[in-house]
Amino acid sequence: MSADDRVADTEELVLSDLLNRVLDRGVVIAGEVTISVANIDLVRVGLNIYIAAIETELQKAAERDRKHRSLFNANLPLLPPPQGP
């Protein structure tokens, strides 16, 4: 594994940990935490799926990053819009 790959892997682990910590841990005051992505409300019950989806997106982003050496846009929503039927 190259030094660049090691750095990319480390960044991916750190980012994944940040998302897991901030989105799925911490005090819950309001009962259900409503997070909306692409106008779909994802409530607490779906958060594990949501986290898994984020991890998948992170993996894809890391792959794209390795190929293109460009950072993914930090302002984009963490999940892509849902695909049509």
């Binding site: 940990d17 989105l23 911490g26 009962g31 909306s36 998948t56 302002n75 963490l78």
Partner: protein, 230 residues
């Protein structure tokens, strides 16, 4: 205007003169709520879409609270209220639990050890290995075997790490994930004064196989050590 909640501190804790900018781009402010001070921001909408920048902004606010030498209770991303009064009312309803949590983490911080595990994968099932039912069962067994391998590796690594940092650890939370990456995440609640010694102990330790990567993060606010939602 909606109120976005970041973290909670004991009443009387003075907010820094320069508060950070939050997820909505406005300055964070301190909101008195009974025996608790909440760090909040006025946002334009109750629904805050998570982006990497906003997640980082949320975390940065709790980091700043932690840097003020008082340990905050970090609040999960995305919690908004119709107004400051609604936020106060929600906090008042849970004040005993929240004060208990604040007391429990007083003087503490969370350290996180991220361990990527290099576990042996069981062989793929050949598509022509038999009937569809047989292939399906073999795939299930393969997945089960991989999970058991990950959990066994995680237990061994956890034991080695615990031996090294055990004297500093006041509480521990363990998360093991078999996919998409075999990962062990250890969260340790330790005293602020022990951060340097904790890090030094881990740097000197030999995690050994099957550790592919070991990253120590922190100190961070104790996200992992708050009471579960009621």
């Amino acid at each position: 205007m909606p109120t976005y909640l970041y973290c909670l501190l004991p009443k009387g804790h003075e907010a820094p003169t320069q508060m950070p900018v939050g997820v909505g781009g406005a300055p964070v402010r301190a909101l008195g709520a009974g025996a608790i001070t909440a760090w909040v921001e006025t946002v334009s909408d109750r629904t805050v879409t998570p982006t990497l920048d906003r997640v980082r902004a949320h975390d940065a606010v709790t980091e700043q609270a932690l840097a003020s030498n008082v340990t905050p209770l970090p609040v999960r991303f995305g919690q908004t209220f119709d107004s400051d009064d609604d936020c106060r009312a929600a906090l008042a309803a849970q004040e005993p639990r929240l004060l208990g949590d604040l007391e429990r983490v007083r003087g503490m911080v969370e350290m996180r050890v991220l361990v990527a595990l290099a576990t042996a994968r069981t062989p793929e099932v050949e598509a022509d290995a038999g009937s569809p039912g047989r292939v399906y069962m073999q795939q299930l067994l393969r997945i089960r075997g991989t999970e058991q391998g990950v959990h066994a590796a995680a237990a061994a690594v956890r034991e080695r790490i615990s031996t090294v940092v055990g004297p500093f650890v006041r509480d521990e939370a363990v998360v093991v994930a078999a996919s998409p990456t075999a990962m062990l995440t250890l969260s340790h609640l330790i005293a602020r004064d022990d951060v340097f010694r904790y890090r030094a102990a881990l740097e000197d330790a030999d995690a050994g196989a099957p550790v592919a990567r070991l990253i120590v993060r922190g100190p961070v606010a104790p996200y992992q050590f708050v009471s579960p939602p009621t």
